[in-house]
Symmetry: C2
Subunit: 323 residues, 2 copies
């Protein structure tokens, strides 16, 4: 194969679809964004088809070797099936090769966005020199991609990585949408933080977070800024988030002995969170594992492209028969 | 190679050394136990040498293909080095091939006892049909062996598996010998249970556990029996153990999505603990991971032989260049 070999990655989001041609080295030769209409399963799949058709009509040569789809929800990568999703309403399983690949004579791979992003870090990002690393995604939700022995951990049924539902003992009574209490995600994710702030605001009538919410400015960054300024509600929310992430991550470091922790997702962007969580890991994980852990670092990939690159890794794994 | 090919496994314990010839199928053709004098590093290594020499003098044919050593403490399997240990006083690193293999013209592999036992479960035990499983060892201490994608997780520096130092929020003030508080091991291991019972006894002057301790009968089994009889101290100890193990294990199930949990070690022997911990896992882990988890089962290997079999797997991995 030549350097110019490409696959086509499709990053399927709730509001837009990114499609791109990606080389074996992770270079994006061309990428485009297309609209997503997620009203129903039918419109969602039609949007994906339109995005792919639009891209392929513009793309000339070389012919792609495979298609890769990064999606939300439950997938069966071995079978190439998008099983179901909530945020995008997929209730009947979709065979991605039959539905999207056959039209172009191409096989199609699929996995969830966190697994895909973890593979992008493994092949082309901050994990590319590590056989054992953790990709910790904290954005609207919280999840982790685990790499051991140089391979993504998918688990027995592709459910691996549900780090957001670790119980840490911090805020043990906080309800999680999963139905349990004490999960990491509701106290340590962008979405959870906002919901929890709104629930607690009545008990903190003088908190400036009420005005922030009214101005549609209530987010992790705002809460960190007000925590630094001493607002008791913001301090409580931020401290619980740091403690819960630190505890869960130290447990994970002790278990997996990773070489690096790579962080991705919106809440890390302003730089407030990372050193505080890292401090807890450094002061509570075991000495042996810490001696192997080189650091906790932001993703080196462009956040606008990581989803697309992740989708492309799935296609490359199919080409390379690594799946 | 023929069916009769063997390696020699050496299970190095604090009081005795088991040596055996093990086939590729995990059949022990012959095994012997020898004494261990762990007064110093010198006497410890001399004991191992004497055990190996004793076994090899009795063993006729076929010539073993390699040696495997299961030890306590820190090891570097890639280099074949026993780095250090406390329970057996190893302070200067030992090159196992140079020290023990060269005499017989054989290469030697080494790893810790939990990693070795996990490989025994993977190749010949309850994990042999699973690409993803957890081997949970709870005896004097608490540790886990993790298998993902069909391979043992050693981590970046062979420190993986320190499940006993997970923080669970149960008994968060209990001190751990590692220097921290709230670890799983001091509330959820055979040794930790005894120590904690002794610390709490002054506050429970009517507990029958004092008499059990005086009669040298204080152990996990005794505590479970008295918990069933309603002794408040025993109830507290047993409940904390069940809760802490259940929480940490549910977190692990959510993270790794294993097909099976295999339990080994003394505290499971009377059957009291397993259904109680399993109940917590079944009621608190996520539905997706639970749908893939077939069960939590005792090891199918003879507990007297699992250490020896584990040591042999290390030698077979060397022969098969799987390490």
């Amino acid at each position: 194969m030549t350097k110019a070999d490409v696959v086509v990655g499709v990053d399927v989001g709730g509001t837009k679809i990114a499609v791109g041609a990606v080389t074996r080295a992770g270079e994006i030769l061309r990428s485009e964004r297309y609209p997503m209409d997620r009203s129903t399963q039918h419109t969602s799949l039609a949007s994906i088809q339109a995005a792919l058709d639009g891209f392929m009509a513009e793309w000339s040569a070389p012919a792609p070797l495979a298609l890769g789809f990064g999606v939300v929800g439950r997938t069966d990568p071995a079978a190439g099936v998008w099983v179901r999703a909530m945020n995008i309403p997929i209730s009947a399983p979709v065979d991605m090769t039959a539905r999207f690949g056959a039209r172009y004579g191409l096989r199609a791979a699929v996995d969830n966005d966190v697994h895909a992003a973890t593979l992008a870090e493994l092949y082309w990002g901050a994990g590319r020199n590590a056989d054992d690393f953790v990709y910790l995604n904290v954005g609207t939700g919280t999840a982790a991609g685990l790499v051991t022995n140089g391979r993504l951990v998918r688990g027995a049924g592709n459910h691996a990585g549900e780090f957001g539902h670790s119980f840490t003992g911090i805020a043990p009574d906080v309800a999680c949408p999963c139905g349990r209490r004490g999960c990491l995600e509701p106290v340590a994710s962008g979405g959870g933080l906002i919901e929890r702030a709104r629930e607690l605001l009545p008990a903190y009538p003088r908190s400036p977070l009420a005005a922030a919410d009214a101005a549609a400015q209530l987010n992790a960054h705002t809460i960190f800024v007000h925590a630094d300024a001493g607002d008791p509600l913001a301090v409580r929310l931020a401290n619980d988030m740091v403690s819960a992430l630190g505890i869960a991550l130290a447990n994970l470091v002790n278990l997996l002995d990773p070489q690096t922790i790579v962080v991705g997702g919106g809440v890390w962007a302003d730089g407030w969170l990372l050193p505080r969580v890292w401090h807890i890991v450094q002061t509570t994980a075991l000495a042996g594992a810490l001696s192997d852990l080189q650091g906790m670092v932001p993703s080196s990939l462009n956040p606008d492209h990581v989803g697309l690159l992740g989708a492309a890794t799935l296609a490359w794994d199919l080409v390379n028969e690594r799946q």
